[in-house]
């Protein structure tokens, strides 16, 4: 997914002289092709994330479209004020490509996990947040980022994730995608949790339980229209996200229900990370497992939720 996003930046830059890439201090050789062919629009600026956001803002004010790339948690935790003031207040078309969204950096510990990044950025006016589920979807999404008139946060997963997105379902910024039509219950997911939900749905199908999957690659702005269409139709809604249960996609959906269809609120269950820092290392999967985010467990949760309702 990361490779696809960077290849896309290269292709976009080749076709559009306004596209600029700004990295912090990323791995050797990154985007060498762009550096060689378009050196005036390739920047590697060092471990100075706050400055990079401001610099990207200044470049965008002059009509360019900067793609800023660094580790997700350094963008969101460290640069909150720069993102709020320089990017969102000015409503500039800067794109933040965030490596390691969620538990990807589990072995590196809590300084590197990006598990409240959505909550942080969801609070900012003008910000758009996108978490594609696989490399194919990344490829469909990236060309649309060029003309989007607002700042965008693009949350990357680990890479090598199974391809589940389908070309015929398309991709539009701000639109959710019905991966599997909901009848009794529905999983609403973002990022690679969509893969998990599809597997859980399959498992439930074998037990005679029908569950749909709605993938929300864009978390902000939320596709309220789609959610308002499906939420009243089903008996249970289970939101799964690789993020703390505070402030993410689940919270966004609860807020929508609370504002516009409060009678639906009790149908919603949020699966995500607890209100705690990680107290172990391992890897992405082992951390997900430790926090109960497995195919079997999310299937069980939906089944129980159906029984209750």
């Amino acid at each position: 997914m990361r490779k696809t996003s960077l290849n896309s930046v290269y292709k976009l830059a080749k076709n559009n002289k306004k596209v600029v890439y700004i990295g912090s201090d990323l791995g050797a050789g990154i985007l060498d092709n762009m550096k060689d062919e378009m050196p005036e629009r390739f920047f590697m600026e060092g471990v100075s994330e706050q400055h990079i956001i401001g610099m990207a803002a200044g470049i965008a004010m002059e009509g360019f479209i900067p793609y800023v790339n660094t580790i997700a948690t350094f963008l969101t935790r460290r640069c909150f004020e720069q993102i709020a003031v320089d990017l969102c207040l000015h409503d500039l078309p800067v794109r933040l490509i965030a490596n390691g969204g969620g538990a990807v950096y589990a072995p590196l510990g809590p300084t590197h996990l990006a598990v409240e990044d959505i909550a942080i950025l969801r609070s900012l006016p003008n910000m758009t947040i996108i978490a594609p589920c696989d490399a194919d979807e990344m490829q469909r999404m990236m060309p649309q980022t060029v003309d989007w008139p607002h700042p965008i946060y693009i949350r990357l997963a680990k890479g090598g994730d199974p391809i589940v997105s389908r070309d015929e379902l398309g991709f539009t910024i701000g639109k959710g995608i019905v991966m599997k039509e909901p009848i009794e219950a529905v999983y609403v997911t973002t990022g690679v949790m969509t893969q998990l939900a599809l597997k859980a749905s399959e498992l439930l199908h074998k037990k005679g339980i029908s569950s749909g999957v709605i993938h929300m690659p864009t978390i902000r702005p939320l596709d309220e229209k789609l959610l308002k269409k499906y939420i009243p139709k089903v008996e249970a809604i289970v939101v799964i996200e690789e993020h703390r249960r505070i402030g993410g996609l689940g919270s966004a959906i609860l807020e929508l229900c609370n504002d516009e269809m409060p009678e639906e609120t009790s149908k919603i269950y949020r699966i995500g990370f607890p209100d705690a820092f990680a107290d172990r290392y391992g890897n992405q999967n082992s951390l997900l497992e430790y926090w109960g985010i497995t195919v079997e467990n999310v299937a069980k949760i939906l089944e129980e939720k159906l029984k209750i309702t």
């Binding site: 100075s48 706050q50 400055h51 803002a57 200044g58 470049i59 002059e62 360019f64 320089d86």
Partner: protein
């Protein structure tokens, strides 16, 4: 040195304070002569077309000095002087910190300190990419450069050899709490910038002729950014406010205090 024009611009500041009954008075008064020279004789701009592509870019990174900026922008016709009489009113374009795009002539919304130089670096880089001739100037406060992000931007400006960028430090030696030398000492400031790869100039920030001569030296180099350390007096022109941290920001001003300020600037 402290002629009628300097007094007149300061009176415009008081016109705003008279309406809002508040404002960062000290930080505005130290800026007047620098901004006066910038807009009278140095920067290229068109007040009737503030987004004219060839204009020089100017960012007041110490956004709390906006009273001085609003005064000079109104004086130059970016907007009517009547607008000054709305300072800090609910519907005014002129708030306690300057905002783009509400205020014609304001390139970037500032107020949170330590942002303007990075934005200026981005603008200067963009000008280099497109081979544009315009210059980029940024004013920070001296207290403001406590911010670490400023030094990230300084390294970047130097790395990119941004000869089209100049940083002006309104060095009034006083931050909100007290002396900069006591809160977080910046000295030796010139040496710091030399070691970061900048051309360094120093000027009496209230001497119009000296400031004008300094602007004529910029760009000082073909491959280095310039910093001008402007030695100023916070609250300049109002003896009771000069060098007095209590006048960094006033959230209430009596009619007598305002009358006193007008009297001193008559």
């Amino acid at each position: 040195m402290f002629d009628n024009r300097s007094k007149e611009l300061r009176r415009l500041v008081i016109d705003m304070v008279d309406v809002g009954k508040r404002g960062h008075i000290g930080p505005a008064m130290s800026l007047i002569e620098i901004l006066r020279v910038f807009f009278d004789s140095w920067l290229n701009y068109d007040p009737k077309n503030p987004s004219w592509e060839e204009r020089d870019r100017f960012i007041l990174s110490k956004g709390h000095g906006c009273l001085a900026l609003y005064a000079i922008l109104a004086d130059k016709g970016f907007f009517s002087k009547d607008e000054l009489k709305t300072f800090c009113k609910s519907e005014s374009i002129l708030g306690g910190h300057p905002e783009r795009p509400h205020v014609p002539g304001v390139e970037a919304s500032t107020g949170a300190l330590g942002h303007g130089l990075s934005i200026g670096v981005g603008m200067a880089i963009a000008a280099k990419i497109t081979n544009k001739e315009h210059k980029v100037a940024v004013i920070t406060g001296d207290g403001e450069i406590n911010e670490g992000a400023i030094w990230e931007a300084v390294m970047s400006a130097s790395k990119h050899k941004l000869s089209n960028l100049s940083l002006w430090i309104d060095s009034n030696k006083l931050q909100s709490y007290g002396l900069t030398s006591e809160v977080l000492d910046l000295d030796p400031l010139a040496d710091k910038f030399i070691s970061f790869g900048f051309e360094v100039l120093e000027v009496d920030g209230h001497d119009v002729s000296q400031i004008r001569k300094t602007t004529a030296k910029i760009p000082t180099s073909l491959d280095r950014p310039t910093v001008v350390i402007c030695h100023t007096i916070k609250g300049k022109g109002l003896p009771f406010a000069e060098g007095n941290p209590a006048w960094h920001h006033k959230s209430y001003l009596s009619d007598e205090e305002i009358a006193d300020m007008y009297k001193l600037l008559a």
